[in-house]
């Protein structure tokens, strides 16, 4: 089976400091990979390198494109990479404001990706937007409201709708539940889990919340100081942590 994403020895340095280094893994279609670690451990740097927002200093990120099979997205030219970013990839930011156009209505936000890939029929764009708002549990009569009029949880759900409308195959998520209260988090996670299963999405989720990966991720990668210290199946890593840092991480979770 061809992996959807093949990461080989990715490294990113900020001057003399290490962003992340020696990261390699394969992600297969339909698989959800979690990346956990403390703040400053290189999780977001890694995710941005994979999603093409940062150029890694070394290594290769090969993506299984629809037409040409595995291609290195690091050396691919920019128009192609940006095209992937609008079609096969999706990026869910921690802060919905970074991923949404706050001065454009909810419908326009969802429709933007469709229009970016050439949709030119207003009625069809509108229908797709209505459909997607329904799927992320936003009432259809809010379609012409701006995201500024939405609550944090709704903004996050809108961001997800906006990203998934073009039917991507790989979703990058950077702390998708950060900053939301727990009941809203639970709803969002439920929604994400449903969408991922239903659409057969592959996803890479960066978070420091172990409950999120327990619920969503099939596999887990633990990072510390820019290095991957432990990988394995989620339940295996969380229930039987081997590395000292993972043990610390797991035991630090507050029990209610």
């Amino acid at each position: 089976m061809t992996p959807l994403l093949q990461v080989e020895n990715i490294a990113k340095f900020y001057g003399a400091r290490v962003g992340c280094t020696d990261v390699s893994f394969d992600l297969f279609p339909g698989e959800v990979m979690g990346i956990v670690g403390e703040s400053g451990s290189g999780k977001s740097t890694l995710l941005n390198c994979l999603a093409g927002h940062l150029t890694p200093d070394a290594g290769a990120v090969r993506f299984d494109t629809r037409t040409e099979g595995l291609r290195d997205t690091v050396t691919m030219n920019e128009p192609e990479r940006r095209m992937l970013g609008r079609t096969d990839w999706a990026f869910v930011h921690q802060h919905a404001r970074d991923g949404l156009r706050m001065n454009v209505s909810a419908g326009g936000n969802v429709g933007e990706r469709l229009m970016a890939v050439g949709a030119r029929h207003y009625g069809q764009i509108r229908d797709a937007a209505t459909d997607w708002l329904g799927r992320v549990e936003i009432a259809a009569d809010r379609i012409d409201d701006r995201p500024t009029a939405f609550s944090g949880g709704m903004q996050q759900r809108l961001q997800i709708a906006r990203n998934l409308v073009t039917g991507p195959r790989l979703v990058f998520m950077d702390e998708p539940t950060g900053g939301l209260d727990v009941s809203v988090q639970a709803r969002l996670l439920d929604l994400l889990r449903g969408l991922v299963r239903e659409m057969g999405l592959s996803a890479i989720i960066v978070t420091h919340d172990l409950a999120v990966v327990r619920l969503l991720a099939d596999r887990l990668m633990v990072m510390k100081d820019g290095h991957v210290v432990e990988t394995g199946l989620t339940d295996q890593v969380l229930d039987d942590p081997q590395h000292a840092y993972t043990q610390l991480l797991v035991s630090s979770v507050l029990q209610v």
Binding site: P79, R82, S105, G111, M115, G118, H121, Y122, D144
Partner: protein
């Protein structure tokens, strides 16, 4: 003549502007940066257009300036006088006799011919500006032809107003490549952008020049189910009776009385001289004004 160099600007500056114009003509719709000079008028009064005019004028040219279609408003009169004084060129109000026409926010009604140059004054040259504030990002979007965002604006129009409500500065795609802001001309004028004359656009404050060569293909953006429509007031000119020209609406008294008249004063005059008369018009020469 005066002690000014011909057409106010020094020769080096005019060369620099001409280089930008030539580049603009070579890449239709592409915004060419240029080193805009301070002009003896405030930004927003046509400093870009004046610099472009200064660079293309020759002593043999006949110059015409219109402001919203009119030859006799402050902006038009002062720019016309500026070039009369600094270049000593002949000036005219007749569209057909002019070789260089500087315009603010209108295209003359009369069809322009080969050999004429139409110079637009442009406030904001970047059509994507109000959607994407970053210049770095908009330049990248132009270079990679990522114009989906332009349609987001039209989408918002339809979702809020039920139709594409953008009435002026309506975005166009030039020669199937660059999306361009045609300056704030009414969208009624958009179909006229495909013309025989050379069209040059100058934005002084924003330091950009762009151009549309003669007979270029200029397409107004739209949706399949909401096609582009060149709209105007549903009325005939009250002075000359023209039904095909763009109209200004004038409030004439305190009782809600109104008058529709051609915004292109030269066109209106010409028609009245030829004997056409609108509902409230009087023959030329018998005006109160």
């Amino acid at each position: 003549m005066s002690e000014y160099n011909f057409a106010y600007l020094d020769e080096q500056t005019k060369r620099m502007i001409r280089r930008a114009i030539l580049k603009g003509l070579a890449i239709p719709g592409y915004q060419v940066p240029f080193a805009s000079r301070e002009m003896p008028m405030p930004y927003g009064w046509g400093t870009g257009g004046v610099q472009v005019s200064a660079a293309v004028l020759t002593p043999d040219d006949t110059f015409k300036v219109i402001d919203q279609g009119a030859d006799d408003t402050t902006n038009a009169v002062s720019i016309r006088r500026f070039f009369e004084k600094t270049a000593g060129v002949a000036v005219t109000e007749a569209t057909a006799q002019a070789s260089v026409i500087q315009t603010r926010h209108r295209i003359p009604e009369e069809v322009l011919r080969e050999g004429q140059i139409l110079v637009y004054q442009v406030p904001i040259p970047e059509p994507l500006r109000f959607l994407e504030p970053s210049e770095v990002e908009t330049r990248k979007m132009h270079s990679l032809e990522e114009y989906g965002l332009m349609h987001v604006k039209l989408y918002e129009d339809i979702s809020q107003h039920g139709a594409i409500a953008t009435a002026y500065a309506y975005p166009v795609k030039v020669e199937g490549r660059y999306v361009m802001d045609p300056s704030p001309i009414p969208k009624f004028d958009n179909p006229k952008l495909e013309m025989a004359a050379i069209q040059l656009f100058g934005a002084g404050r924003e330091q950009r020049i762009y151009a549309v060569p003669p007979y270029s293909k200029v397409v107004s953006l739209d949706f399949e189910d909401f096609p582009f429509e060149a709209s105007k007031a549903d009325h005939a000119c009250d002075l000359c009776g023209a039904e095909d020209s763009y109209l200004d609406e004038l409030i004439v008294d305190d009782d809600g009385g109104r008058l529709f008249m051609c915004s292109d004063t030269d066109y209106c005059q010409g028609r009245r001289k030829a004997g056409h008369l609108g509902a409230k018009g009087t023959p030329v020469g018998e005006d109160a004004a």
